[in-house]
Symmetry: C2
Subunit: 221 residues, 2 copies
DNA sequence: CGCTCATTTGATTGTGGTCAAGTGACGTGG
DNA sequence: CCACGTCACTTGACCACAATCAAATGAGCG
């Protein structure tokens, strides 16, 4: 679909190349598209954070992913977008019409390779999400989530303030938990001195080793 | 990674095209590759069913996916495979060296487009998995799993016998449940007359409508 | 200040996990 | 052919963790 973590570093001109697309500045809460809209564009996040949400008939919600700079949104849909996407912060996106992609691949095959590599990264990140969702304890999921946020913002170290632009409900719907459980376990991590919660929109890792110990479900090999 | 459901119908020569690769027949329990092996090949499932498994330090296991004919395995890894993959049944696979992919894209850009479409399908199926894992009740997950199996084998109808080549432990590790819970809920569906369990390796949908009612978490729109 | 909304905290319930025993299918060897 | 062993699965009893219901606290803003 859309999330290509860490594509940015080696993609100075953006994954689409500098030629395509136009930068667009959007405010917080701006909706890029709705579930069911015709899927006409790809969006590369230049700055800010976006949220991809699926809503179900019974009111349940799943936050499929959060998109950070370097991630690409809009890939992996059919004719219609499969989820809502809106901005959690003021943001900037680079837009590429999907219709141009076929042409672009034909004209510059290396572009196709790059897209493919991004798709592979996307698949890998969905794997990680499914592992997170399979982890039994709420504490493990939350610790894993915090680590993934810190990693993606390049702040996986002690005493760095990491922005937490999504609300508890978003975290809960992302991890398959309730807001109460998220809150309780964040508090638990804080009481243990592992993290700090200096206010609404951020957290600080105080003891990275112990935070990683919570996520003991690391892969063998 | 690897799962491109329903790619087969419109891909008569296999996703790699008839030219590449060689068919290979393997027996049940054959291991295609291990987690950590150098990721050198793509495998297209021609017949049979494969299982992709991640194992964690603490012994927990996740069955990331089951691969059916038309699905492709080995995509979306970095240098190393990210999971084990073995056959659940006697099977046949079509092998393409990953090293040839770059060349193939450069020479035949439409090949790149096709791979990209497959990757998109793969991402979509991982979305579905994450929805399945987020669904609250065990019954919903199992009902959803049964429906997805029936769909992928083209037997989504009443009174059709659907093969169930994976054991309870595989299902449990795929859905984030325990074997006992899987067993109990299969029994529950059977007692309600929704499915039949005519023996080890298969099930029969007796009341498709009610089975789908169990999975009421359908998407809006 | 007082409203609203997000978050936290508390009390209770319920689903699914855990531990344990029992059943059934299948294969082998006496 | 049947006894036995093994393995997968089922069933049962109990318990823990997270969901639910409910109330309190805190932050942001008019």
């Amino acid at each position: 679909m859309y999330l290509f973590p860490h594509a940015a570093p080696d993609v100075p001109n953006g994954p689409m190349g500098a030629a395509e697309g136009q930068g667009r500045i959007v405010g917080a809460t701006t909706v890029l598209f709705h579930q069911g809209d015709r899927a006409e564009d790809l969006y590369e996040v230049v700055s800010g954070v976006f949220r991809a949400t699926r809503v179900f008939q019974d009111g349940r919600r799943q936050v499929v992913a959060f998109a950070y700079p370097g991630d690409v949104i809009g890939f992996g849909h059919g004719d219609l977008y499969r989820f809502d996407c809106d901005a959690l912060t003021p943001a900037k996106v680079q837009i590429t019409a999907r219709g141009q992609i076929g042409d672009a691949i034909r004209n510059r095959p290396e572009f196709g390779e790059r897209l493919l590599a991004m798709a592979a990264g996307e698949v890998a990140s969905m794997h990680d999400l499914s592992v997170l969702l399979c982890r039994k304890s709420a504490l493990e999921r939350i610790a894993g989530f915090l680590i993934s946020l810190a990693t993606r913002t390049g702040k996986l170290a002690n005493d760095q303030r990491v922005s937490l632009p999504m609300c508890r409900a978003d975290i809960a719907d992302h991890l398959g938990l309730t807001i109460e459980t998220v809150s309780r376990n964040l508090t638990k991590l804080k009481l243990r001195g592992i993290i700090d919660l200096p206010g609404r929109g951020s957290f600080v890792i105080r003891d990275l080793d112990r935070l990683q110990d919570q996520v003991e479900c690391e892969q063998v090999h």
